[in-house]
């Protein structure tokens, strides 16, 4: 780390600070790109999600590197990582933890479940029953786990990266809209292009590389940048555009919720900071729009794209 980023004394973000932050984040994304080849945009978006303090949902076919990316993310930031494979017999207690009766003391003690970690990878979340899914999502929302009336706080930071297979298959419990709403973004990795795939096939084992990867950015630095994200300037003209988008989505039925609007704004701010700007532009909203709105709309990605092309920038 060459420069030490401190929070600006006054509460405005200058372009210089933004550029400096962008430089630092470029280092992070470059490090991640070493592990996952040919997916710079997705990595950038994943970092955006982290900066915006949101949870990430990967929806993709198996074998494209979702787990790898999540692990890489955790490791590059020096965060603790844990993985839970969701199956249909998973019970909420298996995730959150349970109170176990101790014969010696004659009382119950709480054994924390795998959720007590800094980065949690919930693999194939759509395989679990809705009851289990809701337990996890409740923990995500509240940041603590209540067992027998006692709250147990989750560690800070706490990120959930969930994966699911495309929902058109039978044998899954599709996440209901209210739960989908809790994920900031839904990303799809996809297969890499030929050159990157070639490099991957020829090169070293990805997992070995992962094990050797050093910490690219300390967590405290990322936390500081999360605070900077909140200072990125949003002009009234931009809020007009955002609200026009939300209103356009609500023309048919209930469209996007206010939480979606907040999510979109947070993601756009994070993207602006990644681009090195101190203010949010409509292009930022358009860059993250489909990913933030897609899983919240009935019409899916097509509708999100339609909204973006049809809404006029005021």
């Amino acid at each position: 780390m060459s420069s030490d980023l401190t929070l600006p004394a006054n509460l405005t973000l200058t372009t210089a600070d933004a550029l400096a932050s962008a430089q630092r984040l470029k280092v992070l994304t470059a490090a991640l790109s070493q592990i996952i080849l040919g997916k710079e945009k997705v990595i950038k978006l994943a970092v955006t999600c982290l900066l915006a303090r949101g949870h990430l949902l990967f929806e993709d076919q198996p074998g494209v590197g979702k787990t790898l990316l999540s692990q890489a993310l955790a490791q590059s930031l020096g965060l603790q990582f844990r993985r839970v494979q969701f199956t249909s017999d998973l019970l909420p207690a298996d995730i959150l933890g349970a109170s176990i009766y101790q014969r010696e003391t004659g009382s119950f003690s709480f054994h924390p479940g795998p959720v007590f970690t800094q980065v949690l990878l919930a693999d194939e979340i759509n395989r679990a029953t809705p009851k289990t899914q809701s337990a996890l999502l409740e923990a995500m929302e509240e940041g603590k786990v209540s067992c027998d009336g006692m709250p147990h706080p989750l560690p800070v930071p706490f990120f959930v990266i969930a994966t699911q297979n495309p929902s058109s298959q039978i044998g899954t419990f599709r996440l209901p809209e209210s739960q989908l709403d809790r994920f900031l973004m839904r990303l799809a990795l996809g297969v890499p292009d030929r050159a990157s795939e070639r490099e991957m096939l020829q090169g070293r084992d990805r997992r070995e590389l992962l094990r050797e990867m050093p910490v690219a950015m300390a967590w405290s630095e990322l936390e500081a940048m999360q605070k900077l994200v909140r200072l990125v300037h949003v002009a009234p003209a931009l809020l007009d555009y955002l609200q026009d988008l939300l209103a356009a989505s609500r023309r048919q039925g209930h469209g996007l919720s206010p939480r979606a609007g907040l999510a979109l704004l947070a993601a756009a701010r994070a993207w602006a900071l990644l681009e090195g700007r101190a203010m949010v532009l409509p292009e930022d909203i358009q860059a993250v729009g489909v990913l933030v709105m897609g899983h919240r709309l009935i019409g899916d990605v097509d509708e999100a794209e339609r909204l973006l092309t049809e809404t006029v920038i005021p």
Binding site: S88, D89, I170, H233, R251
Partner: protein, 984 residues
């Protein structure tokens, strides 16, 4: 090459714009009210032409212009709307649904009074007002549809704004398919599960092969029973102190259902409903299902999207043919709408009734006042009883009213006055049964027509202003009908704006419209106006009755000289030869020989503007030499009286040359006999008196003087109202008993006495005196100056004026009648009071204004038009070119209004305006336009790719704009604008 392409592009753009205009879905249609409007404007023009009535012309032009402008406003009202439809989700057939529409007012004008309805539905929504730039969401009811797909939905916008004279319509076709799915009904049970799911998509876990484990899905726990493997016990629960529980596993339903179209034995629509029911039940029981249709097969799946797909596929098979649907749509009638259904609030009704009363008041000049009472009664009825009256009542009122008119109106039912009275009663009757804006619109059109009728009897400035005000008030009511809200201020403002925009055009048309075009029509004119003035006979009491009114009789302007002194201000009107004591008549018409005299220097030239009196005499200063009326020369006859060819039925302007001294002429024998004729019933007393005079002097002059002396000495009194003198003994009563009379009595008695004494005498009625108006520079002669005097033919001097009144009441010469009769003390008091002087001054001032109004507007005819045009240098233009000019002015005014209404909405943000300018500039130079959703940086990048020379500059400008618009620093617009100008 580029220029040509550009020009081609421009022309093609204009062509496409013109094509768009032609096909544009806005139509402004004529309706019933337009017809009545055309009738009213034609009537106004006719009145103006026939009566040469400038005020009517002005009203006609004003009405025409306002109507034309309202046409443009109606068009623009609907044009400024932007309709965006919300998404319509698929619904069940046979149910009504609602389509949310977002209507935005683009452009600079607000949108008023529009109703939205869709073809076939009976419900409409009414939009009051949308401010410019605002949006409004309206739900349009769509009619119940058959099973099937409608490729588009047709929505109609209708408006009667602003004055209801035209109906504007706009059809908006919303390119959204409306899918009506079959309703789910049917009693057949769903088919059995026949598709075994091959487990291709199931994750085959390790547990699949285990015994006791039937499937992969956790299906809860149950109590442990003997025989269950201990491996399946939930040990965690046991550790927590629960009893032994066994986890249960169920496979997912490994079988799916196939819904087959061909296997159901029902009619197509019933079949579709049945299958919809099955789909519903499968979804609710989470059974995957597949659909098999004659042309389509949908694979097994589950979920709302799958259900949607299946229902859509069903539509294709079971749906009604689309072409049939379109035809059905076209034949549906549209509901009546706002014009025919909504009700008026009470406040508006009150205002309208007030306006109607104001309109009807001036018309009472020419119609019996009973009509007004009927109208008032109807208004009271309507306002007090608010409920619906039975149908017979208005017709009964109309019948009663017509009967009254027939009996009370002297000219009968089928004359102009009768027609107008009928209209007033019709107004009342229609008011009783009016409920909807359509009915009230009819009322207002009738009221506009009555405004015109008010101008038929009087064209003074006050009347014209009254007419204008009532016209304006009615127009405000018309605008108010098109809205539902309760305020009165916006309609006032709108009507005021329209009036202000129409007035200049009306004034220009007033000057420019060729008056001579309709000269031929003026012979058809019948004029019914109030007529006052001296009549052509004199009965005792008539002149005094006339003298009680202080209305102006005529106004005189003196050219080239000062007005004559009071002593000479005798205005000659009628000469009476045939006398019977105190009553005199004109006498038989013998062939009238004109006295031809040439004007000399020293003769007084006057321009007399006279009010109509219905007879054929023309006033002139004693004695007239020559008169000119509208180009015709009129010479006085043997009585020195000016007679016009037609009766004076309208305000008339004549030029008269008069000489103050009388020429001596010879009397013919017939004339002498005529002038000496005595009534047969002359009493001996009077004869004796006459003999007395005759003996007093040798010459006629001496005789006359002795007679005058007699009157003066005998204590005769000059009073305005001496009582009635009737019968054959009237003269005696006057001369010997009462000895009190007015100028008519004196002149008649004196003339009779002189005739009896052998001196030819005749009586002249006219006016004496006149008030000088310093502001106007003219003299007003009023009815109260009416006077009668005697003329004696004396040897050597000819017909000499002998005015007894001058001898008896010399004060009459200097003062007007009223002040004279009021007495000296009153006079002093009046002179000294400011109020009197102030009111007199105000009266004179107002009279001057009216005189100017008459001169400039009412009597503006072809002559004055030619004068004015010559002054402008366009003297050669007459007839055809003038009409073209009129049309040109009219069209120009309409185009100006169109452009004013189409001005773009103000953009308040300076940066946004500048950016828009830049985009427009780039678009004009041939680059593709910026898309609505394109941000500044993306746009700059795209431009940079298409035109590399601009890449650098565009990037810089885009960044500056982005920083200003979306950042926190808003300064520097000027630099930005300057940089834009430099871009090529």
């Amino acid at each position: 090459m580029n220029v040509d392409k550009q020009r081609d592009a421009e022309t093609s753009e204009w062509c496409s714009r013109w094509r768009q205009f032609r096909q544009s879905s806005i139509r402004v249609r004529f309706n019933f009210h337009t017809l009545s409007l055309i009738g009213i404007v034609a009537a106004m023009a006719y009145t103006g032409a026939v009566q040469n009535n400038g005020a009517a012309y002005l009203l006609c032009f004003l009405t025409g212009t306002i109507a034309a402008m309202s046409w443009i406003r109606a068009w623009e009202n609907l044009r400024g709307l932007e309709v965006v439809a919300g998404r319509l989700s698929a619904e069940k057939a046979g149910l009504e649904s609602k389509l949310p529409l977002e209507i935005r007012a683009t452009g600079s004008q607000a949108v008023w009074g529009v109703e939205v309805l869709s073809a076939g539905s009976q419900k409409w929504s009414f939009i009051e007002q949308i401010e410019n730039g605002q949006k409004l969401v309206v739900s349009v009811a769509l009619p119940a549809a058959e099973i099937g797909v409608e490729p588009s939905i047709r929505v109609r916008l209708r408006s009667g704004y602003p004055l209801g004279l035209f109906s504007a319509e706009r059809d908006v076709i919303i390119a959204q398919t409306r899918k009506s799915h079959p309703q789910a009904e049917g009693v057949l049970p769903p088919p059995a599960a026949d598709l075994a799911l091959a487990g291709t998509r199931l994750e085959s876990g390790q547990s699949a092969g285990q015994p006791g484990r039937e499937g992969d899905d956790f299906a809860g726990v149950r109590e442990w029973q003997a025989g269950d493997s201990l491996r399946h016990v939930d040990w965690r629960a046991v550790a927590r102190g629960r009893p032994l529980l066994v986890k249960q596993w169920a496979s997912e339903t490994g079988a799916a259902v196939t819904l087959d179209w061909s296997k159901v034995d029902l009619e197509p629509s019933a079949r579709a409903s049945q299958m919809a029911r099955w789909i519903e039940s499968c979804e609710s029981s989470s059974t995957p299902y597949a659909l098999r249709l004659p042309e389509n097969e949908i694979a097994v799946n589950l979920g709302p999207l799958h259900a949607q797909r299946c229902l859509d596929a069903l539509l294709e098979v079971a749906g009604v043919n689309q072409a049939e649907l379109q035809e059905v749509q076209k034949s549906k009638r549209l509901p009546p709408g706002h014009e025919h259904s909504s009700f008026l609030p009470r406040g508006l009704l009150l205002a309208l009734c007030g306006m109607l009363m104001l309109v009807a008041l001036p018309v009472m000049d020419i119609t019996p006042i009973a009509g007004l009472f009927v109208l008032f009664a109807c208004i009271a009825c309507r306002l007090i009883l608010d409920k619906r009256l039975p149908n017979g009542v208005p017709i009964a009122v109309l019948g009663v009213g017509l009967g009254m008119v027939h009996f009370l109106q002297p000219t009968g039912l089928f004359s102009m006055e009768g027609g107008i009275a009928t209209l007033v009663i019709l107004l009342g009757a229609k008011l009783l049964e009016s409920r909807t804006p359509h009915d009230f619109q009819v009322l207002t059109m009738i009221a506009w027509f009555l405004c015109l009728c008010g101008l038929l009897s009087e064209q003074t400035l006050s009347r014209s202003l009254w007419t204008l005000l009532t016209f304006f008030g009615i127009a405000v009511c018309m605008v108010r009908f098109r809205r539902g809200r309760l305020e009165l201020l916006p309609p006032l403002r709108l009507t005021g704006t329209m009036l202000l925009q129409a007035l200049p055009v009306a004034l220009v048309l007033f000057f420019v419209f060729p008056r001579g075009a309709f000269e031929a029509l003026s012979q058809f004119g019948t004029q019914r106006t109030r007529k006052t003035g001296v009549s052509e006979e004199m009965e005792p009491g008539q002149v005094s009755k006339l003298a009680q009114s202080s209305e102006p009789a005529f106004r005189v302007e003196f050219l080239l000289s000062d007005p004559p002194p009071n002593v000479n201000r005798y205005w000659r009107c009628v000469v009476l030869w045939d006398g019977k004591g105190l009553s005199w008549r004109r006498g038989p018409d013998w062939p009238i020989k004109r006295r031809v005299r040439l004007p000399k220097a020293g003769d007084l030239k006057q321009i007399i503007t006279m009010e109509p009196h219905g007879r054929q005499w023309l006033p002139s200063l004693d004695v007239p030499v020559l008169a000119r009326d509208d180009g015709r020369m009129i010479l006085p006859d043997m009585s020195d009286m000016l007679v016009s060819v037609e009766p004076v039925n309208s305000l008339k302007r004549i030029e008269v040359i008069s000489r103050l001294t009388q020429d001596s002429i010879e009397l013919t024998a017939a004339q002498r006999a005529m002038a000496l004729e005595l009534p047969r019933s002359l009493s001996p007393q009077v004869m004796q008196l006459a003999q007395q005079f005759k003996q007093a002097g040798k010459t006629d002059l001496k005789i006359a003087q002795s007679a005058v002396g007699y009157f003066q000495e005998q204590g005769f009194q000059y009073v305005l109202d001496p009582g009635t003198y009737q019968g054959s003994g009237a003269l005696d009563e006057f001369l010997f008993d009462r000895k009190a009379g007015f100028c008519e009595h004196y002149s008649a008695a004196f003339a009779t006495l002189m005739r009896a004494a052998g001196i030819p005498a005749r009586v002249v009625i006219g006016y004496m005196g006149g008030q000088w108006s310093p502001r106007g520079g003219y003299m007003i002669v009023r009815q109260s100056d009416a006077h009668a005097w005697t003329e004696l033919w004396l040897e050597g001097t000819g017909w000499t004026r002998v005015d007894l009144t001058a001898a008896l009441a010399p004060g009459r010469m200097d003062l007007d009648l009223r002040t004279l009769l009021a007495g000296e003390g009153e006079l002093e008091r009046q002179r000294n009071s400011y109020f009197w002087r102030g009111s007199k001054a105000l009266q004179l001032w107002w009279d001057g204004v009216e005189y100017d109004w008459f001169n400039s507007v009412i009597s503006f005819n072809e002559e004055s038009q030619i004068e004015w045009l010559t002054w402008l240098g366009l003297g050669r233009w007459r007839g055809q070119p003038m009409l073209l000019l009129c049309a040109g002015v009219f069209l120009f005014a309409l185009l100006t209004l169109l452009f004013w209404l189409r001005r773009p909405a103000r953009q308040d943000d300076a940066w946004a305006r500048a950016w828009r300018q830049l985009c427009f500039k780039l678009e004009r130079s041939g680059l593709p336009a910026r898309m609505g959703h394109e941000g500044p940086l993306d746009y700059a990048q795209r431009i940079g790719k298409l035109r590399p020379s601009l890449a650098e500059e565009m990037k810089r400008l885009a960044e500056i704009y982005a920083r200003a618009r979306y950042g926190s620093d808003q300064t520097g617009v000027g630099d930005f604008e300057r940089a834009i100008k430099l871009i090529r």
